[in-house]
């Protein structure tokens, strides 16, 4: 079991008559990138929120690192090592890029109730923050105001903040969204190497990236996982082609 980092079992979540998640069971193994794809409205975001702890499922369980975390909130799951990036960049926009990264490092370190020391002069936090910024290629922009960053740079910063947490797994909600071909390509290369550090559950619309990166792919349609398998298996799956990829595309 140690090699299962994340496991959901029979997750169900309804909003009124709408079944947003229906019997969703999936897992994430050490060292892999597991992509979650599905058409708009398939329930990907609802599933992500149940895994991260924003929503409690109506039934079913979420296990993180072998521990049932269904009853824990987002903060507790983050502390356990769940590093999350958001579909819509969630950053402190008035802060500099470096401050956002230091915030991440501070959260990772957890010693926040200190009232006198200057946080921007803390060598351990700064080192972790600068290191993460360098890995995503934002070193040049460290002192810029986050609100002034381009969309693509904000996406990079999202990833950098997740890195500062030194997480045990990443939960990435459309990290490529809105990136140009170039940015998307670079991020693909970066995520490819990242799986060595921690496995990634990747929700993504960019099919080139998904097929290039994913060890396994799960396809979510109307709240249900209709198939899980390698890229080749998913490409060959008739039901997936019908539901999602489109017949002519997959021919």
């Amino acid at each position: 079991m140690a090699d299962l980092v994340l496991k959901t079992e029979n997750l169900c979540k309804s909003f009124g008559a709408l079944k947003a998640s229906c019997d969703v069971s999936l897992d994430l193994r050490a060292g892999e990138i597991h992509a979650l794809i599905g058409p708009n409205g398939a329930g990907k975001s609802t599933l992500i929120k149940q895994i991260a702890g924003n929503f409690a499922p109506d039934s079913g369980t979420v296990e993180l690192l072998g521990r049932d975390v269904t009853a824990l909130d987002t903060v507790a799951r983050a502390r356990m090592g769940l590093g999350r990036t958001f579909q819509i960049s969630a950053l402190a926009m008035d802060y500099s890029v470096l401050q956002n990264a230091v915030l991440g490092a501070l959260g990772g370190q957890g010693r926040v109730f200190r009232f006198f020391r200057n946080v921007m002069e803390d060598p351990a936090l700064l080192e972790a923050a600068r290191d993460a910024l360098e890995r995503v290629g934002l070193t040049q922009d460290a002192n810029r105001r986050t609100a002034d960053l381009s969309h693509g740079q904000r996406r990079q910063l999202e990833v950098a903040v997740a890195l500062t947490l030194k997480p045990k797994l990443f939960l990435m909600d459309e990290p490529m969204a809105g990136l140009g071909a170039d940015g998307s390509h670079r991020l693909t290369g970066f995520l490819d190497g990242l799986r060595e550090q921690a496995p990634i559950l990747l929700v993504e619309h960019d099919m080139d990236a998904v097929f290039a990166l994913a060890d396994r792919i799960s396809v979510l349609v109307y709240g249900q996982i209709i198939a899980t398998g390698t890229a080749a298996e998913i490409r060959a799956n008739a039901e997936v082609r019908r539901a999602y990829l489109g017949e002519e595309d997959a021919a």
Partner: protein, 329 residues
């Protein structure tokens, strides 16, 4: 450290707040010293609120509760001391006190406790509900004080002599000003450290983006509650000093007008600007003194000024003079 226009402005203000009463002292104008003392004390109340409002983004309309608790801490302790009526006899005999340091300690502890309770309940809401709940708690204490006849009820409590501070003659206006000024400087120093501390970074981040703070494993509620308690404690200390300045405490200190006034100091000066409450409170006192001599309805002018600042200068006076706050690298 880089010298910015804002830090120059801050130094100028804090120097002016010292030099004006010193000049008044040498010219034997005790009334002006008293005005400066009042400005310093109200600024201190604003520094407290600014930690919740400016740093934490918590729009509290209930800070009069802490200001008033501080005031009543002074009033109750001093009234017992002057009337030789023990406050309580068990577990030990306590006859009240006219010693400022003890009064301040009691004011800080009780306003912090009140902030802990009020914060724990009201921080479960946000936005306009938070404003209304803090307002409601403030008004609850206000009406409680009105009906608390043991301590003067609606009429309030008067103290014959100002309380003592070891080694100083507190009835001398300039010496009492010195006490208020030193405490204000201490609070400003603390607030500046706080804003740059790990706690301050996380608190202000929770104001900007709650999801982000949760995603890095920090709890916005705990950060905000801590800020609210610190904020309430500082405003409570200001309340004890204010009551000592007037040698009088009444339920008015607890009313929502007082909450509004403290908020006006912060907004006039610039929300989230460290020295904003100093600028705001000084301007308020200045206007009250200058315009109050012309018309009883001077607050109409204050209203116009507040309107102009909210519409055209979001950073308040400090923002208008020193420009937009820069992100600290």
């Amino acid at each position: 450290m880089m010298v910015t226009r804002e830090s120059l402005l801050n130094w100028a203000m804090i120097a002016a707040l010292l030099l004006v009463p010193l000049a008044a002292w040498s010219l034997d104008e005790p009334f002006i010293i008293t005005l400066a003392t009042k400005a310093a004390i109200l600024a201190l109340a604003g520094v407290g609120l600014n930690i919740a409002l400016g740093l934490g983004g918590l729009i509290s309309l209930g800070h009069a509760a802490f200001f008033g608790i501080g005031g009543y801490a002074m009033g109750i302790l001093a009234a017992h001391a002057q009337n030789y009526e023990p406050l309580f006899e068990w577990p030990f005999l306590f006859e009240g006190s006219n010693q400022m340091p003890l009064i301040w300690l009691v004011a800080v502890v009780f306003s912090a406790l009140a902030a802990l309770v009020i914060g724990a309940l009201s921080l479960r809401t946000s936005g306009v509900y938070f404003i209304m709940i803090t307002l409601a708690f403030g008004q609850m204490l206000y009406y409680f004080a009105i009906s608390w006849s043991a301590y003067g009820g609606e009429d309030g409590l008067s103290i014959w002599v100002r309380n003592d501070f070891p080694g100083l003659n507190t009835l001398d206006p300039i010496q009492f000003f010195a006490i208020a000024y030193v405490i204000l400087c201490g609070a400003l120093f603390f607030a500046a450290r706080l804003a740059r501390s790990p706690f301050g970074l996380a608190l202000a981040a929770a104001r900007q983006n709650e999801d982000r703070v949760e995603a890095v494993g920090l709890t916005p509620f705990t950060l905000r509650l801590t800020a609210f308690v610190i904020s309430g404690a500082i405003t409570g200390l200001a309340g004890a000093l204010f009551a000592d300045l007037n040698r009088f405490v009444s339920p008015t200190m607890l009313s929502w007008h007082t909450s509004g006034e403290i908020m006006i100091f912060v907004i006039l000066g610039g929300v989230g600007r460290l020295y904003g409450p100093v600028a705001g409170a000084a301007l308020y006192i200045l206007l009250e003194h200058l315009l109050g001599g012309i018309s009883d309805y001077w607050q109409i002018f204050l209203g116009v000024l507040l309107l102009l600042i909210v519409l055209f200068a979001r950073g308040g006076l400090i923002g208008a003079i020193a420009g937009r706050e820069k992100a600290h690298g």
